[in-house]
Each structure stands twice: as C-alpha cells, then as structure tokens.
C-alpha cells in the first residue's frame, strides 16, 4: 500500500470507500494516479461479518447522531435513524442486497416526460441513457451482474417461488431472479452464492460484490492507494484561489490530521456528503462549498418504499437464501393512468425474527402483532421501491442544536412525502397484496418504510450552475477540483436500486478526472 505524506499535494483524496468512493479509487489507481481514501468506519472482512441482525447492525451501521423532521413516518418511528447505511470500509456495499438495475431512458428526462409537477423540483439529467450505456456495461462486468455478460441468473429461493407464482397468475411478465451483483458462478476470484441469507449483514462467502474485497484490494495492489480506515473527515479546506487544497479529519487515535490534495472527491452518501460541504463554509464560501446555487442538501430523495408481508397456510421459510431473490419489473414503467408518474419495482425481501419485530409495524403491539411473529416461518415478503419526487424543501441541513462527538452539528434530514409518492405507495401496496393473494395468502400486511437505504440527490447534477451543484461528471460548478462521487449526484431517483448507476458514474468520473489531469486542466 502507498504511504502518501500529509503535505503531498499531488494525490486525489476520496472521502468514503463505498460504491462511489471505492470504485473511483480503484479506477484512478489502475490509471496510475495516487489516491488517499479516508473512510470513517473500521475495517471488517468476510470472516468478521456476523450472521446476526442486531450484532451486525452494531458492527456496520452508521450510528452517529442524526435528527429528523417532516411528515414521513420515519420521523416518528425512527427519529434518530433516518437512514440504514454503513460506517465501515466498503461503506453500504457491505449491506446492500445486490440488485443492479439500469435506469430506463425516460428516467434521465423526467421533466420532459412528466412535465411540471406542483411541489416537485423535477429536472432532466445532463446525460442520457445512451451516454451512460457503455459505463453501465463496464459496471456490470466489474460487479459480475447476473443476466449480463453471459452470467447466468441466480436460483430462486422459496420466497421467490411465492412471488413468481402470484405475480405470473396476476399476469405480470417480467418476473425472474433479477440482475444481481452476486456470483451465480465463481468469478473474479470470488466464489458463488451459498444461499446463506444475511445479505444485509455482510456476505460471508464474498459472492456479493462489495468494494471491501473487490475494488479496494485491487487498488491497493497497484501500489497507488493509501487507504485510511477510521478517519472521520470534518472539513474540506480551500486556497485563496477558491480551489480545494486539503481535507481535515480525525484519525483513529483521535488526532486531527490535515491531508493536502490535488483533487477532492466526496462520496460519503447523500446525508454526510452535503453535510460536509455545508460544514466547510468559509469567508469565501459562506453558504458552504459548491453551494452558489443554494441546492446543496436540497432535493433529498429516499425512494418511495414500503413492504408487503403475507402469511400462508404452509411453510415458506423466506430467510433461506438470498435476501433479494427476485424482481417483478412490470410496474417500473411510467404509466400515469395509474394515478401517479414514475414506476416501482417489486423485489423479494426477508428479515429475520429480530428485525421483523423491529420493522414489521414499528410501535405495534397486541394480539395481531403477536400473530404475525408466530407465523414467521409461513411468511413471504417483498419490498416496493420506486421513484420519489425531488423537492427543494426535502433537505439535509446542519442541526446546530445537536453536536456529534467532534463538536460538529449533526445533520437533520427533513422529508415530506409528495402526493405522488403516497399515490404510488398505495398502488404498490395493493399490487403487492394482490400478488400474494393470487398465491393463496391467508393474510397480508402493509409494512411502512424502513430507515432509508437509497439516499439520493442532495448535490444534484445539472446543465446549469444556477440550479444544480455539479455537472454531468460530478464536478462541482463552483470549484473545479471538487467532485461529488456518490448518489448525491442523482438529478432524480429513477425506480431502480441506485448502486449500479453510482458505480457506472464513478467509472465515468475516473475516466474524466484522469483525462483532465493528463491535460493539466486539474
């Protein structure tokens, strides 16, 4: 591994090691560029991952204080936990389920396709599906996505059998075990899926793609990476010319360090990324870095989500095998006749008994709740995930009243459901219940959203510096050597799980940075 001196100002400093940061690091290192990765979390491994929901949650989740506001149910059910994302080397790629779906063409141009929608800040992306297709292709190859590049699909588990039987009976056509970044065959030095379950707890077989044991070790092997776990960034500094010049962080010993930088790429997920830009306000940038548009922290999206669980007379044992074992894609298209714009995916999901108790019906108690828990082994489950409306007022701000252990303001996450989100959720609940009823369910249950796993949009990309934070390469409009390298870049959310798009954008961004560096433009 490289050891890059604190006063060496020739390296690219990446904040975060997840899907965006970890991928970007490897891509740059492969091109011979020196990289420092500052990761707030600690190093884990497939050996140290734990097949136990609460213990794993303590090991991997980002549990630093956060606050919430707005009319979303999360603010009532989990006021201190707006998001279920990770603080560990590899970031949330340790926890993600592996679903790797491309955006649809219209989802890059929603303002054009959906028109103006009251209370929504819709905007077209500054790039198209055609622009991103070659990068999607590289991302799918890198991640080993099933049903691409000749990689077979995964075998469906019992939970998928129930979904498939109900969905096909209902007339749905696009029902299969999905495009998953989980090895269905040994590939890229990693083994194939052992159907362990516990995908959310870190894949102990390493079959699921995570930057922890793919991108980061490959980057280290080049000799160009200096990976520093347990390094919590508190501030990005700039020089008199208004270019970023250094990153200040607290290391694992609690010492403040200052790493000089040629380029800074922020990939802290869509809550910490805008928080860091806002916390880095200076005399020159009084509203925070890269915030001349006022859009940093705004347009926070978290996908329309919800779950349906269904009880059957016979055992299902949904916990056996991959957590996200299959997808119904028919409702993902934009069909405003349903009463809302955009679409949603239906994806199997399973929770163990400990998390079922926490998430089935937060705050619930009594005989009905007990009935569902006792029928655990007869339950099938699906997650509903769709495009939500970006709103300027849904935003991450600094909460000056609550400080973290470094004395910095914690992020407040404000979210009000848009009427379109509510209409889509109700449609999705109904269709999810119909799927299970078609498969013979004796009862169905509408589970409210979990803490957000798909956090998006708080530093959106756009064609104009007036109403967006960064350009189509994630380069901030205001500061040319400051990049946004995670899902914060998303102009709008699409219906699809975002990781594949984050990875595709990171590969594309690395190519752009390398080109501009070689041209001495950066």
């Amino acid at each position: 591994m490289a050891k890059i001196a604190f006063d060496d100002d020739s390296a690219v400093v990446i904040i975060g090691s997840g899907a965006g940061g970890g991928t970007l690091a490897n891509e740059l290192c492969q091109k011979g560029i020196k990289v420092v990765v500052l990761e707030a979390g600690a190093m884990q491994s497939v050996a140290s991952f734990i097949n136990d929901e609460w213990k794993s949650f303590s090991q991997l989740a980002w549990l630093d204080a956060r606050t919430t506001s707005g009319n979303w149910r999360i603010a009532k059910d989990f006021p201190g936990l707006p998001a279920w994302i990770c603080k560990t080397v590899g970031g949330t790629t340790t926890h993600w389920a592996g679903a790797s779906l491309r955006f649809q063409e219209h989802e890059f141009k929603v303002r054009t396709h959906y028109g103006a929608i009251k209370g929504a800040n819709l905007m077209d992306w500054p790039l198209t599906l055609k622009d991103l297709e070659p990068w999607y292709d590289k991302a799918e190859d890198k991640m080993g996505v099933t049903r691409t590049h000749g990689i077979p699909g995964l075998p469906g588990n019992n939970n998928f059998k129930v979904m498939h039987a109900g969905a096909t009976k209902l007339g749905y056509k696009e029902v299969h075990t999905g495009n998953m970044a989980i090895n269905s065959r040994p590939r890229d030095g990693r083994g194939s899926c052992q159907q362990i379950g516990f995908c959310f707890q870190g894949c102990k077989s390493g079959a699921k793609w995570s930057t922890l044991y793919t991108e980061l070790p490959k980057a280290e092997a080049t000799g160009n990476l200096d990976l520093r776990p347990e390094s919590h960034v508190t501030r990005i500094e700039h020089n008199a010319a208004g270019k970023v010049s250094a990153v200040v962080y607290v290391d694992k010993a609690g010492q403040e360090q200052r790493q000089k930088a040629r380029i800074v790429c922020v990939a802290g997920n869509s809550i910490e990324t805008p928080r860091l830009l806002l916390m880095s306000a200076s005399d020159k940038f009084r509203d925070g870095l890269a915030n001349s548009s006022g859009q940093v922290g705004r347009n926070y999206m978290r996908h329309m989500t919800g779950s349906v669980y269904a009880a059957f007379k016979e055992p299902v044992q949904m916990f056996r095998g991959t957590t996200m074992a299959g997808v119904v894609g028919d409702e993902a298209r934009n069909n405003p006749k349903r009463g809302f714009v955009g679409g949603y995916e239906m994806e199997t999901l399973s929770l163990g008994v400990p998390f079922m108790a926490a998430f089935l019906d937060p705050g619930g108690w009594g005989e009905e709740f007990a009935w569902w828990m006792e029928h655990y082994s007869q339950l099938a489950g699906m997650w509903l995930v769709g495009e939500d409306m970006p709103r300027e007022t849904n935003r991450v701000t600094l909460n000056a009243k609550v400080k973290d252990k470094y004395g910095n303001p914690v992020p407040n996450v404000h979210f009000d459901d848009h009427a379109n989100d509510v209409a889509m959720r109700n449609h999705a609940y109904t269709q999810g219940e119909r799927v299970y009823q078609a498969a013979g369910a004796i009862r169905t249950f509408r589970t409210p959203p979990y803490p957000s796993t798909h956090n998006l949009g708080t530093c959106r990309m756009g064609a104009s510096a007036a109403d967006s934070v960064c350009n189509a390469y994630g380069q901030t409009h205001d500061i040319p050597n400051l990049f946004i390298s995670d899902g914060s870049q998303f102009t709008t959310g699409g219906a699809e799980n975002p990781t594949l798009t984050i990875v595709a954008l990171a590969i594309r961004q690395a190519d752009h940075i390398a080109t501009r560096m070689s041209q001495r433009a950066l």
Partner: protein
Amino acid sequence: MQAIRIATASRGAASAATTGHQAPLTRREFLKGTGLLLGTLAIGTPIAALAPSRAWALELKALDTATGDTLLKFGRVLYPHPNLPDAVYALLVKDLDAMAAADPKMAGQLRDGVAGLDRAAGGAFAKAKPAAQLAAVKAIEGKPFFATVRGKCVTALYDNEMTWTAFGYPGESFSKGGYIRRGFQDLKWLPDPPEDASPPPFLG
C-alpha cells in the same frame, strides 16, 4: 434440580440454556438481589428440550419481586405468545432491571409505572383477569413508561434463541454452509418457476 440462571445478556441466557455452563445459584447469591423471579419450562416443548434444566431463576438488582412480576405480565399483554414460556418474558424483566440499576430515574419510572398499572387494573395488575389487564395497558398507551417497556420488548422478547426456536427461525447459517444444500427452494405447495426465471443452482 439445578436452576438455569438467566444471565446478564439476553443471548447469554439462551446460550446458558443450551450449553448449561452456568453455575447453579446458591442461597447466598439469591439474597444479593432485591428481587427474584423463578419459573419452570413446560415439558415437551422444543425450548425445554434445549435446556439442561427445566427450572430457571432471575435475580433482580434494582427492582423487587412484585415489580418484576408485574413487568413480566405487562410484557405478556403487550406481546401475547401463549407458546412462549415465562423464561422469555423474564429476559424483558432482566433488561428493564439492568436499566433501572444503571439509572435511578429509570428505576423510578418503572416503579411508578407499575403502580399506575395496578391503579388502572383496580388492584394488582399481575393478578387481574386478562380483559382487565388489557384495559389497563390501553389506558397507559403512549406514556413514557409504556414506551420504555414496549421498546425493550422488541429486543428482549425477539432477539433470543428461545423465541427463535419457538418461531422456527434458526439464526446463523454460515457455519452450516448456508442453505444451498439445505432446502432454500424446497417449497412444494406451489409450482416451480421455469428455468429462465430461476436457473438451477451451481453446486460446484
């Protein structure tokens, strides 16, 4: 008969029940706590089959026996599982007692809360009829005491191996090789999906 001691952590209690490594309680140890809950696991249940002994005991550090017993019954009203033994609900009392021992304000909230339940039940909540118990719990729904106990139930009652066994959840699977050869697609009461939707597993 030696009693299984409900140990200091929920999962510890379950492993004590399955491994039997805990030493039996002595009379002197019984007297150290301010309260004591005792129980017996029913014969012929999967949980009893796991345990080295059917008798169990929980010493309380901060709460007295009557308070502990009322909290146990409160847990049974909140999450009524007739097939779970009192030993599971004793885990709730153990966790609440630990909170009370660490924080005098919490101890006060629990004692006052129990007194409130007794008042709402028109006598001893622990001895009241099920309908009266349910009415008493509904009467305090939303109060901080209710939120404390209900919140603690989520982990105490459902994050332990006794409950998992009763509900058919086996917990970790990695050490057993996952489910690829252990029934991940053994459901027989629905048709199998076609191979293009669900290709056969790769078994190496």
